[in-house]
Symmetry: C2
Subunit: 639 residues, 2 copies
């Protein structure tokens, strides 16, 4: 294994080698590049995605992209927006299809800033990340791939991973060293195979899908809506796209059928012909086909996401499923985000290396939920194709009392809205999510009445920023920069002064969670630094239940908290979800009049722990307990 | 004048020659380029604005930029947003300054989508337009200017203007012919002078202003707010900017004072020194000065905006005033927009050439109002500097009973909010604004109860687009494309059918306003054309007081109206301004249950006329009357 001696050597050592420039790899690369890490990023395709692939950005993902400052670039492509999904079924007369139901794709019970799915060609989305990477001097090396890799922890504890990269034509190679290796190379991950990590198929039935992007002319009235259409001739999913395009997913066959693998015979014309039959009595013709593909897909999950917390997998390398739920890209984004901030926390000295074990712990659960959802959804979708008679029987019932397939399909969809919107993704109680089940010592943890759910995304609230009177989205105020967001819901302006003062005093102590993580350049930080004047890992936001005009930062915000002058807020905006509340953000969080609480939000936007804000040292002690546990984490308390 | 024989000739004839690439010239150029006109655009500066100049985009202008699809590019520069203005005055103790009041810059009584002022360096704003022009193949020829021009209507009726352009160094020249010539060259307009158009100064007093853009360090708490500060040492206006910058306007002197012209002595240090005195007891130091300038400014207005409706002036060439109201760029935009669509209406055959007379008629009134506002505002601003004792006396009174300067200043500001937001700009009754005073024949004009004010901007409403269930801003649904927007508030879905059917039948007649302006390619228009399938001058939008799910475009939208399938809306969104309304858009417009109305909105977003929608031919006849009057306009009925 004397590779170094015979191969040209890239003499730089990298913080991370990222293989694959799809959604998972790009998100990880973009986060870590912005936070100052050195990255070797390779992709085996000669150029970014030109056609096809994923295209659905879920509401929570769009919020994340906004938090990264990338939303406006996405929206500049005029993507289609899906607010409602229409369900079409065979008409009772037996001829053609009729609309039987519609449902909001992100219903009102979900408190989303952007209650719609954004549909845009993956290539445009990738380009937004690639342009951002260029700004941070990361170039994706194409078409290159990984030839081999090995861990040499004993030889180089700083850069234990040795990776041999090769040009796709197999001639040129480079060997580099790295702290981490990430495999975001899709379902056939070489890294996963090389690590001998198993990949289990949940459902033994494979489905063959045809997907076609194109510009059509049709009198089908819902061609600009997301639709699931069941007919006597098969099923279609309609997805509107940018530039007058529409994507049709047509399920061609299942592996449970005889002679099922019809990939060879399904031509462009055959797919269109099938679509025409399904859409009858409506007509459809194609003005242009941008792309089409026929592919089998199974529902599978990787046994492990990492073996040693040095080499990680994410995205499709970990989980595959049908395209219909529009979750592939979104799940990949969230995998990468979850990993990114934990690597940052380890490398920055905030957390013990064992925090990296929570990556698999948290993300594999989400993938299992996704597969379970997809399984139910996809089986319902394909079952109709096989069981015409069952469907007819079900449709024979009146729509209200039907408890068969039709209602179950809609029910599954409705129940899953929260999950598929991204807001239902929740991480369980573990070393970083101190939900009420956690054996924390401080009695101030989990104050009564708090409506936030630990492990869930922090609640959206509008507030007024005191310094410039701007109306802002509180949850967006700290950019995605790898820092924890500490939201202090201080309640009433005057009665909170003593507790705030004590908390500020505690923060200023050398051993406080923030001072223990002080920036090396803390004494030379610019006057204009808004988010991280003391530590790269923390931003302190103070929210008063008061009108903006009453708040004087100099007088009302004590000590070190006042330095966060861009993060002092007045909770004085009306909110339709709590119409009677005087302080709607406090009300949404569950902090009632006379109460005060501090919400610790992880860098990825999920709630880590909530602590009462009280006079005396209790509050700072509770937060110090939480953060010192991160730092001295032991394997035993990970799960 | 045998210029052609000796000068190199640009053999192309242009629809318009535009001189000056500031806000007025760029807006005009961008509109006309998008609508298909050929443009020769010159500017005497070697490059776009690099520092200084205007920076305030008012709420209505931001809406306009959104309607042009340019808002996101503007916002990508992270401009400062001003939601509130703070008023500071000498403290009653006589030492330093105190905040005496704050006021929303666009208060709630104004129904604005974007209730804030956007502050961004003019260079960034210009670049957004210049980038758009490049897409439409218009390049600004720099540094070039106009050397002479003459009208030769008798010689060439198509391209009557002959313009001699020259390179700024005076050596190279080009002679071109054009249909129109626009002078947007600023206050010292050569074109205005050459036309011998007078420029009147409203107030004989000239003021000397210093303006400084820079990055500061200060403990002044409102440095991120717009502030007007009066002190015993003079007055300052604070304007926050992008990139941590702040702009300070300091009034140095007035021409009413002895030895007033201190342009020679006001150095960077002197301006800063004065600012420090004014801001006491707060401290301020400059980390960086990007730009500063000292200039005299008077309040003046051009006697005419055009002499022959071939050569026009706009922007600063027509009106100058102090920078404090932040109106310069906004007024220039609106001048250009007003002219652009009228040129388009004439050249496209929609309107008689006399419509161009309404450019001066409408825009000069606005400029006069602006000057009157600015005069009151600026005099109050500067008077404090001279009359310390008066101010002291005023301030000696309690704030509540004070009726002197302090309250008058605030009062002027408050009263003028609607005007300065852009929503107060209203055009009077004239040949194109058929307000109730207009001698229209049809009794269906101006139905009772309508809350829209003719000549004002159309009211903002949220509705649901039927075809894709998207929640949209109705007023933004037709892009700024030179077309009239015909909004049909059809009321109830079922009872409106007969009236809608009769209107649709009327529209389809050969002599209807829309068919009389049919596109030459009306039979070959793409299936995907959303806005102008029949005529480049009209888009028909149908709004039902019904839930989206109840509306079936095929059944409920008759005849030709159904072709506008992207413009059928459900008035089913709740609006805080009419909380009890079932159909909030109808309610805001003033169309009550059982009523129906058609609102004609000019291409620039101002309401032209409102007509009842009734059964029979009355409605189509009334609209035909309005549009045929545009086409047969006579001088006599312009004013």
């Amino acid at each position: 294994m004397a590779l170094q001696s015979v191969q040209p050597r890239d003499h730089r050592s990298y913080d991370i080698v990222i293989v694959g420039a799809g959604p998972a790899g790009l998100m990880l690369s973009t986060c870590l590049a912005r936070w100052g890490y050195s990255i070797k990023h390779v992709d085996n395709r000669p150029e970014p995605t030109r056609t096809g692939r994923a295209d659905g950005i879920q509401p929570r993902s769009l919020e994340l992209l906004r938090n990264m400052g990338l939303k406006s670039q996405i929206m500049s492509h005029n993507p289609a927006r899906v607010y409602e999904v229409a369900f079409w079924n065979p008409s009772q007369s037996g001829q053609g299809i009729v609309r039987t139901n519609t449902w909001a794709s992100c219903p009102d019970f979900i408190d989303a800033r952007y209650p719609f799915t954004t549909l845009l060609h993956q290539g445009y989305i990738e380009k937004v990340f690639i342009d951002d990477l260029v700004k941070h001097k990361v170039e994706i090396q194409r078409p290159w791939t990984v030839a081999s890799f090995r861990s040499e922890e004993c030889r180089d504890t700083n850069y234990p991973i040795c990776v041999l990269l090769k040009h796709i034509d197999g001639e040129e190679t480079q060997e580099v060293r790295a702290k981490y290796l990430f495999g975001g190379e899709g379902a056939r991950s070489f890294i996963r195979q090389r690590l001998n990590i198993g990949f289990k198929y949940i459902d033994p039935v494979e489905h063959i899908w045809a997907v076609m992007d194109g510009v059509v002319q049709t009198d089908f009235p819902d061609i600009k809506m997301k639709c699931t259409i069941h007919s006597h001739h098969g099923s279609i999913m309609v997805i509107p796209r940018e530039d007058n395009m529409v994507r049709l997913y047509v399920q061609i066959a299942s592996s449970s059928e005889i002679g099922w693998d019809r990939r060879d015979i399904a031509t462009e014309q055959e797919i269109q012909s099938l679509a025409k039959k399904i859409l009858f009595p409506y007509t459809i013709t194609w003005e242009r086909v941008e792309w089409y593909s026929i592919y089998p897909i199974g529902q599978g999950i990787s046994d492990k996401y990492s073996l040693d917390e040095r080499t990680f997998l994410g995205g499709d390398a970990c989980h595959t499923h049908s395209p219909k739920a529009g979750q592939g890209m979104n799940t990949a984004f969230m995998d990468a985000l979850n990993l990114a901030w934990k690597i940052h926390a380890v490398e920055g000295g905030l957390a013990h290396r064992d925090i990296l074990k929570t990556y698999e712990l948290e993300r594999r659960c989400v993938a299992l939920r996704l597969l379970a959802f997809d399984n139910r959804y996809a089986n319902l979708f394909s079952r109709r194709q096989a069981a015409h008679d069952d469907i007819k029987a079900t449709l024979g019932k009146s729509r209200d009392d039907s408890e068969g397939d039709v209602d179950e399909f809609t029910k599954v969809f409705k129940e899953s809205c929260e999950f598929t919107s991204g807001y239902g993704v929740a991480y369980g109680c573990n070393a970083i999510n101190w939900s009420p089940d956690h054996e924390a010592k401080s009695a101030l943890m989990h104050p009564k009445g708090i409506k936030l759910r630990t492990g869930h995304v922090f609640t959206n609230c509008d507030v007024t920023r005191v310094i410039d009177a701007n109306v802002v989205h509180l949850e967006q105020e700290v950019p995605l920069n790898g820092a924890f967001r500490i939201f202090i819901f201080a309640g009433d302006l005057y009665s909170s002064q003593l507790a705030l003062q004590d908390f500020a005093t505690g923060l200023a102590q050398e051993n406080s969670f923030i001072m223990a993580q002080a920036r090396p350049d803390v004494n030379d930080v610019s006057h204009h630094e808004q988010h991280n004047p003391h530590s790269m890992f923390f931003t302190l936001c103070t929210v008063f239940a008061a009108n903006r005009g009453c708040i004087d930062i100099t007088k009302d915000v004590p000590g070190l908290l006042a330095r966060y002058r861009y993060h002092v807020y007045a909770d004085d905006r009306w909110d339709a979800r709590v119409p009677a509340a005087k302080a709607s953000a406090h009300a949404k969080i569950g902090v009632n009049a006379g109460e005060r609480a501090i919400v610790v939000v992880r860098p990825d936007g999920h709630v880590a722990v909530v602590v009462s804000l009280v006079q005396g040292p209790g509050t700072i002690n509770a937060l110090n307990e939480y953060f010192s546990a991160l730092n001295s984490m032991r394997l035993s308390n990970i799960e």
